[in-house]
């Protein structure tokens, strides 16, 4: 019986995620459109509501092309390895006081650990395509993700030190007990987290691995149709996952005035963060690869370490 509930939860989460990703893509195009003073997609359905649905249909009905010289087995496996961990992450997220999946006592570590597997999928995809642009994109992507994973994890550690637990629910309950969101005592960590999250997600202005103007969109150049859709899906699901993590850690999770249920607050906070990323994409030009690396190693990591030191001193001093 328990197994049935687990499967049901997973299926519902997947369905909601697919719908959410479809509309995230639409909103991204709409928001960028309005910021550039054009209407964005508006032909399919009212307000362009069916644009992404049409796009997805097109992707699914495309011919399945595998390049002749590609390493076939790895080529087929790569999109799956990229997508599965992005979905597995959602098992640990706690949407509201009583809607949650697995209540892991190492939730945060689970999140970070599982998400690091996607790098393997990206690398496999870029490398098995047997194409210079794909390989370059994959190497860039992995170098970027590995260097920005360090400040991301270090910035999160400040929260862990304050709360004294890796459990997502404990972290939210702690914020309830001290009566403020952790963004206030951990503001530096929040800034470092947001910047390195953008780099982790390969979003603009740090979208170097899939820079369409120089790399012909990087590691998924050779992918088309269904497999390409998987890579895109993984990317957007990660955007939601990282937004959910930021909501839990810094913005008080499901906490909020009681006139709305907790899960609505959670989604609202997540949407604000996702909107912030669309906003950045519409306004900032792409960073150069050497600047990106220098910024990561020389600015973000020292700042994150400084935050850990300050947080530990405060924690010991406060008792």
């Amino acid at each position: 019986m328990e197994l049935v509930y687990i499967i049901l939860y997973a299926v519902i989460t997947l369905a909601v995620l697919l719908g959410a990703v479809t509309y995230a893509i639409l909103f991204e195009r709409k928001v960028i459109g309005y910021m550039q003073l054009r209407p964005g997609p508006n032909r399919h359905g009212p307000w362009g509501m069916l644009q992404t649905v049409a796009d997805v249909m097109k992707l699914l009905m495309k011919e399945d092309i595998i390049p002749k010289n590609a390493d076939k087995k790895v080529f087929i496996l790569a999109p799956i390895i990229a997508f599965v961990p992005s979905f597995a992450i959602f098992a640990s997220i706690s949407w509201s006081d009583n809607i949650y999946g697995a209540d892991l006592n190492i939730g945060l570590l689970y999140f970070i650990g599982i998400s690091s597997i996607t790098t393997l999928g990206v690398l496999m995809g870029g490398w098995s395509s047997n194409n210079k642009y794909s390989l370059l994109g994959a190497i860039r992507g992995v170098a970027q993700v590995i260097s920005y994973e360090i400040p991301l994890v270090l910035s999160v550690l400040g929260v862990v030190i304050l709360v004294g637990s890796l459990n997502f629910r404990d972290i939210v309950y702690y914020q309830e007990s001290i009566g403020m969101w952790l963004i206030i005592p951990q503001f530096l960590a929040f800034v470092v987290y947001m910047i390195s999250a953008i780099a982790e997600l390969n979003r603009s202005p740090f979208d170097l691995p899939e820079a369409e103007s120089e790399l012909v969109s990087g590691y998924h150049t050779e992918y088309s149709g269904f497999r390409f859709a998987f890579f895109m899906l993984a990317e957007y699901v990660y955007a939601y996952a990282i937004a959910a993590l930021a909501t839990t850690l810094f913005l008080g999770g499901w906490l909020g005035p009681a006139f709305l249920p907790g899960i609505v607050w959670f989604f609202l906070k997540m949407s604000v963060i996702v909107f912030f990323w669309f906003w950045l994409r519409a306004t900032l030009p792409r960073a150069r690869v050497d600047n990106l690396m220098r910024f990561g190693w020389k600015v973000l990591i020292p700042l994150a370490l400084l935050n850990i030191v300050i947080t530990s001193i405060i924690k010991v001093w406060m008792g």
């Binding site: 790895v74 006592n105 570590l109 689970y110 599982i114 690091s116 597997i117 393997l120 490398w127």
Partner: protein
């Protein structure tokens, strides 16, 4: 069959199959992927044993870091299409079979005579491991850390020498 047993069987078969594939596959790239899956299955076994912390550390270190390090090594050095064809000498085969058979026998004997503690308090949580590592064994941890740092510096020195 309980769900635990079903998952155990799936994971165990996956781990063994991937371990065999690491040896039997031809291309080095396929071997590395099989290795990553093997590590992943073992992490799943840790999860089944309720040692979540060890399981997740296994994923972070082995699947997330070590496999990618291997792939980078393969891509950077020109080994992408190297294949390994084992030599098929009869004497070699018999000798290796005997050696592996002896090892298996010894291990089975060792496992069968082991005295497993049953229903002992679970000690696999992150908190307990942290207290042990940074409380009771802090000097050992620091020592290992310095040793690893020395190994890292040594590797950099060696690599630079070769480049020159």
């Amino acid at each position: 069959m309980t769900p635990q047993l079903i998952f155990f069987l799936i994971l165990a078969v996956m781990a063994i199959a991937c371990a065999v594939l690491v040896i039997s596959l031809k291309k080095i790239s396929h071997r590395i992927i099989a290795m990553a899956f093997c590590f992943f299955a073992i992490a799943g076994l840790y999860f089944l044993l309720r040692a979540e912390f060890i399981g997740i550390v296994q994923i972070i270190v082995y699947v997330g870091a070590l496999s990618i390090l291997f792939i980078f090594g393969m891509m950077m050095t020109d080994h992408r299409n190297v294949t390994f064809v084992p030599d098929r000498k009869r004497g070699h085969k018999i000798l290796s079979f005997l050696g592996v058979g002896t090892l298996l026998g010894l291990m089975l004997y060792g496992i069968s005579t082991l005295d497993f503690p049953v229903n002992e308090a679970q000690g696999g949580t992150g908190e307990e491991i942290g207290i042990q590592l940074y409380g009771h064994y802090v000097i050992a941890v620091q020592g290992v850390g310095i040793l690893l740092l020395a190994a890292l510096v040594g590797a950099v020195v060696l690599a630079r020498k070769e480049a020159e």
